[in-house]
């Protein structure tokens, strides 16, 4: 009897959360989807246009660059964060001296906001202020580092700053995973005399799949909502070379008074991410069962 009322109570407590989630998350998501089929400009309108906004969106050169940048940025960001995060975690796992110091150092960028990260890297990479100027003053006149002002390479500076910011978190995740590995496994590895690189590659890392999944999900969210870092570092420039979907959507919603086009871009972004993430999630979770 008591346990049933407990269940009831806990369900009751969840009701407000449920209402809020349904209304603010799903409600607004669906409304955005609906607006993308209308001719909403400055204010929401209900005139139905069908797929017209999508057609116009996909003939917009700026959107194509922003969309492609999502893949360049996302792919490299995920790859390098996981690579460096994993590598640092394995190195720290060797019970080195000063472990606390290194862990804190690598995790430190996480404590900075993305806006600060973006500004700091902008100063460092700016050819007339930062590293290039320093190198020139030290006598290396051939040294050039102008990626942040180059329309070909600007997006890679965003990757650089984001990897710097995100690697620490992935490292800590992996380190927690490594520390949770059963001591007996290590003992048998020693007994068998398996070299360390094989032990990690064939035995230890495969056990960390769930952690890899968590890391990739966390980083993917960062890719989709990447806005502040880009605004602070390049503001999408030069031109719109380093534009990303979130900035495009914001611009069309608020600065360009084109709500429907922004909504169409938002739908395309979310759909793309779901198309990539859902199959991966499905495969992983099935395997883990």
């Amino acid at each position: 009897m008591q346990s049933r009322s407990h269940v009831m109570a806990s369900q009751l407590v969840l009701v407000p959360t449920l209402i809020i989630v349904v209304y603010f998350l799903w409600g607004f998501t669906l409304y955005t989807g609906y607006l993308s089929f209308t001719d909403s400009k400055f204010l929401p309108s209900h005139k139905w246009l069908g797929l017209k906004q999508y057609e116009l969106l996909w003939s917009n050169p700026r959107w194509k660059i922003a969309y492609a940048n999502m893949f360049i940025f996302g792919g490299l960001y995920l790859f390098f964060c996981v690579l460096f995060g994993g590598l640092f975690a394995i190195l720290l796992d060797q019970r080195i001296r000063l472990e606390n110091f290194f862990r804190t150092t690598f995790l430190y960028p996480m404590s900075l906001s993305l806006v600060v990260t973006g500004l700091a890297w902008q100063w460092m990479l700016n050819p007339s202020l930062g590293l290039q100027k320093l190198a020139h003053e030290m006598g290396f006149h051939e040294f050039t580092l102008d990626w942040v002002v180059s329309s070909k390479y600007a997006i890679y500076t965003v990757v650089l700053a984001a990897v710097w910011h995100g690697t620490g978190l992935i490292m800590v995740l992996f380190l927690a995973g490594l520390r949770a590995v059963d001591k007996d496994i290590w003992k048998s590895i020693y007994v068998e005399g398996i070299p360390a690189w094989r032990a990690y590659g064939a035995i230890i890392l495969p056990q960390l799949r769930p952690i890899l999944l968590a890391a990739i999900l966390l980083l993917t969210f960062n890719v989709v909502r990447s806005f502040d870092l880009v605004v602070a570092l390049t503001s999408g420039g030069p031109g719109f070379a380093s534009d990303v979907p979130a900035k495009f959507i914001y611009d069309y919603f608020f600065a360009r008074s084109n709500i429907a086009r922004g909504a169409a871009a938002a739908v395309c972004t979310v759909m793309t991410v779901l198309l990539i993430i859902l199959p991966y999630l499905y495969l992983e979770l099935r395997k883990q069962k």
Binding site: F42, L43, S59, R62, P127, S128, S151, G239, F240, N258
Partner: protein
């Protein structure tokens, strides 16, 4: 137990504090006017203070709601109006933007104040029509800003033996000579609005005022013409005369290059003049201000406040009082002097204005030589900004840029 009690009392005190803050922050509870703006710079806030003092002289309370930039300010006001909690007034570049708001039904008109104070007779025609929608005043215009100035460091020009050029051709031939002497010929910033402003100057100087007027009108024949290619080509020709540090540079830093004698010219709006004056430079002697060479056309933007929709009579009365304070003749003169702009009213005194402002006044007075810049909606301006900035920062050809501009406008 006692510590728990203590905690509870602290918590309830805190709750009371929060509730108090919320009450204070709810503008509806004040009989005063909640005004949203982004005039947070030194000169701008001093100018705003003049308006605040005039408004509060009649016993009303000004509630200041500053934002960092126009986009953030307008996004917040838009949702406040729709959510039923509108501010009393919001800063705008009067013209296309305020009309967009009025057409969306988000603004009250202040026509009764305008009628009783006879705004029609004291405002230049262009300013009056920019402030109206459907024949009624929807905004109180305060300043006329002139946006197409070429500032030159005269000491630098003298030292390299260049006379101040008065045509586009002479301007172009002076650039390599300044470069040879080891200076940056043209200071250019790296934000897209600065690049678009540069485009405006080139378009006026190379293709002329008529072309620029038709461009702003959205005349597709003009936009798709050879003239557009000439303008993009001329803009590209300026690039070798700019420095590598331009990327991402703010207008203030760019302006400083000219003030400190590192660069020869800058194309900028009248807000750049304040920097020269603050560095104790004398116009006509240390630096010069000229309408962009070869154009003879002054581009203007009107700064003013619009009044969000509200049905409450008390709020409407506050809006009327605000409008009246903003349109006060002496207030406009005093504030314009502080901000470096021109008063919107033709009968406001222009005593004490320097010779740059006086030049602008002469051009404005002759009517035909003034072109109101904010005539297109945000969508059109956005396309122009995208194309110009992308062209300037890549190896796109002028033909490609024209095609992108035409396609972009068609797809609005």
């Amino acid at each position: 137990m006692s510590s728990l009690k203590k905690q509870i009392s602290v918590n309830s005190k805190f709750a009371g504090f929060v509730a108090g803050i919320m009450l204070i922050c709810t503008p509806n509870l004040w009989a005063g006017g909640d005004v949203v703006h982004w005039w947070v710079g030194d000169a701008e806030s001093k100018a705003l203070k003049v308006i605040v003092d005039e408004f509060e002289r009649s016993g009303s309370k000004w509630l200041d709601t500053p934002h960092n930039d126009s986009e953030a300010a307008h996004a917040s006001v838009k949702s406040r109006v729709i959510g039923g909690n509108p501010p009393a007034a919001v800063l705008m570049v009067v013209g296309a933007s305020s009309k967009e708001w009025a057409e969306g039904g988000l603004l009250n008109d202040v026509d009764s104040v305008a009628k009783s104070e006879n705004w029609d007779s004291v405002l230049p025609d262009g300013v009056a029509s920019a402030s109206k929608q459907g024949g009624k005043y929807i905004a109180a215009p305060i300043f006329i800003s002139t946006v197409n100035w070429r500032y030159a460091n005269l000491s630098l020009l003298r030292s390299v033996g260049v006379d101040e050029p008065m045509s586009w051709g002479a301007f172009m031939t002076s650039l390599p000579r300044i470069q040879k002497a080891g200076y940056i010929p043209l200071a250019v910033g790296g934000q897209d609005w600065q690049e678009t402003l540069l485009f405006d100057h080139v378009a006026l100087g190379v293709a002329g005022a008529q072309y620029f007027r038709e461009l702003l009108d959205g005349n597709m024949n003009t936009i798709d013409s050879e003239d557009t290619i000439r303008v993009f080509t001329a803009m590209r020709a300026l690039e070798p005369f700019t420095d590598a540090g331009k990327a991402g540079r703010s207008w203030g830093d760019t302006n400083n290059l000219v003030i400190t004698g590192k660069a020869g010219y800058i194309f900028m709006g009248d807000w750049a003049k304040g920097g020269f004056l603050q560095a104790n430079k004398t116009p006509g002697q240390d630096f010069s201000c000229k309408i962009s060479p070869g154009s003879g056309m002054v581009l203007t933007a009107v700064d003013g406040f619009a009044f969000p929709k509200t049905s409450s009579g008390a709020d409407q009365a506050t809006q009327g009082k605000l409008a009246s304070a903003m349109m006060n003749k002496d207030v406009q003169t005093k504030a314009a002097l502080l901000k470096g702009a021109l008063p919107a009213r033709t009968d406001a005194s222009t005593e004490g204005f320097d010779h740059c402002s006086q030049n602008a006044l002469v051009l404005l007075g002759s009517g035909s030589a003034a072109l109101h810049w904010n005539v297109r909606d945000s969508g059109f301006k956005g396309v122009l900004k995208d194309v110009v900035s992308q062209f300037w920062n890549s190896d796109m050809s002028p033909e490609q840029a024209r095609k992108m501009l035409v396609d972009g406008i068609k797809q609005l």
